[in-house]
């Protein structure tokens, strides 16, 4: 059976060049970079080279890059670390209702520590309003965390407009760029952010490694304690093969962002246009300000998990914001925050395209999905009523 992977928002396939770069560090270059001897020194060099690559890719300085175990840890370190470091300055944090749980749940935990958090609402496209942001700012605001690109609906947030406000007001700004790296240009100077999270496995690098950019001079408390690694901000023996992989992956992913984006946009638009023909289908997220590879659609009268599993039976991998796929009973908090009714949220499907997708992949999905939707709708009592109504 043909296999089509369109769940690059969940994770991506490691680029073979990335794996090649990592392998020596599982074999002969196995030292601990903290060791003084040759086994340690050769590995320390690779660690610093990866840091330079990560820095270069986002226009930062190497000493501003802290490697972590992934996007979640980077987000936690940013929000917990800055909030606690600036506790004496104020106790207010601003974030958005559509953040990933790695930011949203940390913010909720911060509330329990005594911080006040504003969860900014979004419009029907999932976008935060800079004006609403400005209004939310108080004397107590110390930190804001607004994502660069949404993982579910792909909406790009107006970070530059928001950073104009945070800079004016002296607020530290963190952005979760986990979904953005390699898909849109990311330049910490231009964005005007003070912290930025990224995760290698979202741009054809390995799982279990990420990084936090921390602008020079920004205070960040530790979340975990231990050895002197990563300037003591993030202790623990470094995941050298992973970090080397991150370095190589970010180098490759940012080598030609416009080229990759054009490829993805072409495929995505073909996919969206084809799927809209099914009828009773709605595109979720912003029509233009969205990740080039993200196509999130709602199929009326059918449930997302059923769609997913039916696609899976045809070899197609996608994801859904339906409650039944989230493991909870609630559908996606992102879709609900956009004002979508529960039923529509249940029928949402996300295709996230990656660099290995081809036009044939899109054609295949366009071939199999209409039948699936029809079959499920034919079983659905809601559909019947829908048609009658």
């Amino acid at each position: 059976m043909r296999k089509v992977y369109m769940d690059n928002g969940a994770t991506t396939q490691v680029d073979e060049q990335v794996l090649e770069a990592m392998l020596p560090f599982y074999r002969e270059l196995f030292g601990n970079p903290s060791s003084l001897h040759s086994f340690g020194r050769e590995v320390k060099k690779a660690l610093e080279e990866a840091r330079e690559k990560a820095a270069l890719a986002i226009n930062a300085r190497p000493e501003e890059i802290y490697f972590t175990s992934g996007g979640t840890e980077a987000d936690n370190l940013a929000v917990q670390g800055v909030a606690r470091a600036l506790k004496k300055k104020g106790n207010h944090i601003i974030t958005s209702a559509v953040e990933h749980h790695a930011v949203l749940d940390v913010c909720k935990a911060m509330e329990e520590e005594g911080f006040k958090v504003t969860f900014l609402p979004v419009d029907e496209y999932g976008m935060v309003s800079p004006e609403a942001f400005r209004e939310a700012v108080t004397e107590e605001t110390i930190l804001a965390s607004i994502m660069l690109a949404n993982n579910e609906v792909g909406t790009l947030q107006p970070i530059e407009e928001i950073s104009a406000i945070t800079r004016e007001k002296g607020i530290v700004l963190h952005t979760d760029a986990v979904q953005a790296i390699g898909n849109i240009p990311v330049d910490v100077g231009q964005l005007g952010v003070d912290l930025l999270s990224l995760a290698a496995h979202k741009f054809n690098g390995p799982k279990g490694v990420g990084a936090l950019y921390v602008r020079r001079g920004t205070q960040v408390n530790k979340v975990t304690y231990g050895g002197g690694q990563e300037k003591k901000v993030r202790p623990g023996t470094e995941n050298i093969p992973g970090i080397v992989g991150l370095g190589k992956a970010i180098e490759l992913a940012t080598a030609d962002v416009p080229g990759k984006a054009a490829h993805l946009t072409f495929l995505r638009d073909k996919l969206i246009q084809g799927l809209m023909k099914i009828g009773d289908v709605k595109l979720n997220g912003h029509p233009e300000k969205r990740l080039p590879g993200n196509a999130n659609l709602s199929f009326a009268f059918v449930e997302g998990e059923s769609l997913l599993l039916s696609l899976d039976m045809k070899g197609v991998a996608a994801s859904s914001g339906s409650a039944c796929t989230s493991g909870s009973l609630e559908p996606s908090h992102v879709l609900l925050a956009m004002g979508m009714p529960h039923e529509t949220a249940h029928g949402s499907l996300r295709f996230s395209l990656g660099k290995y997708n081809t036009e044939e992949d899109v054609d295949y999905v366009l071939e199999v999905l209409p039948e699936i939707v029809e079959r499920l709708r034919s079983m659905s009592p809601v559909a019947r009523r829908g048609k009658q109504g």
Binding site: E305, L309, A323, C324, L329, H346, S380, P381, V382
Partner: protein, 127 residues
């Protein structure tokens, strides 16, 4: 995640649709996860369920539970059918993942509603 039996019933659901000239109809909606099911039955001699069909909006667990339930209930008397619980359905499917148990609740509940509806209609016809 799902047992083979669940996947079999999801892939090839039995008794989908609406019974022509049904004797009873039950409708259930889960307010929690949005699933909806409509069940129609035909009851023959000796109060035996002669025909049963379902329509379900829901996840694989909901669809498979609906389908399994229709198989289990076909040929049973309405007394036997009333004794059937959601757990029986889940068990017959070889179990369901814990967070999915609630998805099987629709099936037996809709069945009981359909039988209630049949009994009401019968009473109304008799009176």
């Amino acid at each position: 995640m799902y047992s083979e039996k669940v996947m079999d019933h999801f892939k090839n659901p039995r008794n989908v649709g609406e019974v022509k000239d049904y004797h009873g109809k039950g409708e259930m909606g889960s307010t929690r996860c949005g699933d909806t099911m409509v069940l129609t039955i035909k009851v023959g001699e000796g109060e035996v369920i002669e025909d049963v069909k379902f329509q379900t909006f829901g996840c694989a667990a909901a669809i498979a539970s609906s389908s399994m339930m229709t198989e289990m209930v076909l040929g049973k008397t309405i007394q036997e059918a009333l004794a059937m619980t959601n757990n029986h359905v889940a068990e017959a499917l070889g179990g369901l993942p814990a967070p999915k148990m609630h998805c099987s609740n629709l099936a037996a509940d809709a069945l009981h509603k359909a039988i209630e509806d049949y009994l009401k209609r019968k009473e109304a016809a008799a009176s």
